[in-house]
């Protein structure tokens, strides 16, 4: 299911091909007419007033992975007012051994006036989907809308988990989307009172194959992430360890049975529960009913019961651990996008964050309203002031 052999004991920092955005160019994207940032810094901090467009820059970077980016917005919403298309260009430096690569993503207007389409390019060639970027870079991000993750609905945690899986297993996105379509097909057949039971059997067979594949991929990622957190345990870290577990009947199924057997059990359950699901108007059994259960490990309490500050620290720790997992499993030190994270941390915690990020060895782009937040950036960082649609270095 996963791509690459884990390289758990590989040297920190230098041993991985790094991907660093050395030039970022935006055209007609959100608040930007044109914007060009050139840097070779491992850490780029963006400061400026709320609404100045800091997060837009992170969002532009987040388009180099499947999905709708870190705001989960429609691409059409990312157009600058009055524009019909946008483009985001990123020149990647991949260290000494690998050639540099130019990536582009954009919304291209249809000259015939039809729907605009997403365009993905690698070194001037069009590629069919943003999944192709995974060969060159991986992205990990943390945004303020995840602040309520541990107290919010299970659906938010499932989506968070599926993003974690996607970063190490680039086929996961299409697998989840396929499961969703197959499940909707079954719900429709149940609702219509299927005349042909063989048809329902066929749909359920497809659901079982996809559902088990989704559950297995999630279980592998959670197990590896939990293992990595356990190995890196450091009680002095300001970012407490998270205890992770998957809770759900499908998750238990893939632990108890080999995949093929699990599919049989799954199909049997779907067949037996047609009446119940018809009454409910949806399919109750499956990975769509799972939850990612997170605990504050040092205090041994559910994450949702920790204080707001502790939850934030826990989440940062989880995202950092995930970045480490992405590096060890894919061989790519990821690009980490941290939106409004610095403001939650005091000077000591920020320093600890910078150290941990440097250990991962990728590139970090972070935002914060107050420039003073970034007064203590490590040597070699770039601090840009964002205002009026431009980015200028702070001296």
């Amino acid at each position: 299911m996963v791509e690459g052999v884990p390289v758990e004991q590989a040297p920190v920092g230098g041993g991985f091909p790094r991907a660093r955005v050395v030039r970022l160019g935006l055209t007609d994207f959100r608040s930007y007419d044109t914007l060009s940032i050139t840097t070779d810094a491992p850490l780029v901090a963006l400061s400026g007033d709320n609404g100045a467009g800091k997060t837009n820059i992170l969002e532009a970077l987040s388009l180099f992975t499947p999905g709708r980016g870190l705001r989960r917005a429609e691409l059409g919403r990312m157009l600058r007012h009055g524009a019909t298309g946008f483009s985001v260009f990123a020149a990647l430096d991949r260290g000494g051994c690998e050639p540099a690569v130019n990536l582009g993503v954009g919304l291209q207007p249809d000259p015939e006036g039809g729907r605009a389409t997403r365009l993905c390019r690698i070194d001037g060639d069009t590629v069919s989907s943003p999944a192709a970027f995974a060969e060159y870079l991986r992205l990990v991000w943390l945004t303020p809308d995840l602040d309520a993750l541990f107290r919010g609905p299970a659906g938010d945690r499932r989506r968070f988990l599926d993003r974690l899986v996607l970063a190490v297993d680039s086929g996961h996105g299409s697998r989840v989307a396929a499961l969703e379509r197959a499940t909707r097909s079954r719900n429709r057949l149940l609702e219509e009172g299927a005349r042909d039971p063989r048809w329902l059997d066929a749909v359920e067979r497809e659901i079982a194959e996809l559902g088990i594949a989704v559950a297995v991929a999630r279980a592998e990622t959670v197990t590896r992430l939990a293992g990595l957190i356990a190995r890196a345990r450091n009680n002095d870290s300001p970012f407490p360890d998270a205890g992770l577990a998957l809770e759900g009947e499908t998750d238990a199924l893939v632990v108890q049975h080999p995949a093929l057997e699990a599919e049989d059990v799954y199909r049997e359950r779907l067949r037996n529960e047609r009446g119940r699901d018809r009454a409910a108007g949806r399919t109750l059994f499956g990975p769509q009913a799972s939850d990612l259960v997170v605990r504050h490990a040092p205090k041994d309490i559910p994450a949702g019961e920790a204080s707001t500050g502790e939850q934030k620290a826990l989440l940062i720790g989880l995202v950092l651990a995930h970045a480490g997992l992405v590096r060890s499993m894919t061989g790519h030190a990821p690009i980490v996008l941290l939106d409004e994270v610095a403001a939650h941390l005091d000077t000591a915690r920020r320093a600890a964050l910078y150290r941990l990020l440097a250990d991962i060895g990728g590139q970090v782009w972070m935002t914060g309203a107050d420039p003073a937040l970034f007064a203590d950036l490590p040597e070699g960082s770039l601090h840009l002031a964002i205002a009026g649609g431009t980015a200028s270095p702070r001296i």
């Binding site: 396929a178 909707r184 048809w199 059997d201 067979r205």
Partner: protein, 201 residues
């Protein structure tokens, strides 16, 4: 509606061209202009070819292929292996497999795939015809070459179930067809590899 800028015959040509897949009003105008300019070399021969095709085209009553004879050229070809039937979603997939040129078999065009969300059920597809052909005898293997989409795979499960009672080996395309991949967009090498390494259902 913008005012017509050409005579009714040319406007009609543009309107019809604009209904072709991949051609919007703008490219239809460009194509029409090109045809009109190349009246001798292109417009006349195209008109003749279009008329001839329109008069003679039929759907093959055996396999569902589109051709100018019934049975179609593939079904009538004595050189083809009668023991193998390749099941495809539509004629475009049949053409893609013929271009790959790795099989010397006959086909069966379903005319779509099962899709509850689009209201397409078993009765809308040419499934009875397939089961009938398989039951006639002489068929040893049925290769299900449907797209690796949810609907394509669900249809494959359905067909496997519908053919189970017959002494026919059922196989499907193997590696190299990505999830959500559409046969028509695969290159010939990938298609060939997928066909050669087909696996039993």
């Amino acid at each position: 509606m913008p005012k017509a800028s050409a005579g009714p015959e040319i406007e009609r040509l543009i309107q019809l061209l604009a209904r072709l897949p991949g051609l919007g009003p703008r490219s239809a105008r460009r194509a029409a202009l090109h045809l009109v300019k190349k009246r001798e070399q292109l417009l006349g021969p195209l008109a003749d070819a279009t008329r001839a095709a329109a008069e003679r085209i039929v759907t093959c009553s055996v396999c569902g292929n589109i051709d100018t004879s019934d049975p179609c050229a593939i079904c009538s070809d004595q050189e083809r292996d009668p023991r193998i039937i390749v099941v495809v979603e539509d004629v475009a997939d049949l053409w893609a497999l013929e271009r790959a040129g790795v099989l010397n078999a006959r086909y069966h065009v379903l005319g779509g795939v099962l899709s509850p969300l689009d209201g397409i059920g078993p009765d809308d597809l040419n499934i009875t015809g397939l089961v009938g052909r398989a039951a006639e005898g002489g068929v040893e293997e049925i290769i299900i070459a449907l797209n690796a989409t949810v609907d394509g795979q669900t249809t494959a499960h359905y067909l496997t179930d519908s053919l189970r009672h017959l002494p026919v080996k059922i196989t499907r395309l193997a590696h190299g067809v990505p999830v959500g991949g559409e046969l028509d967009y695969l290159d010939e090498g990938t298609l060939g590899a997928a066909l050669r390494s087909r696996t039993a259902f």
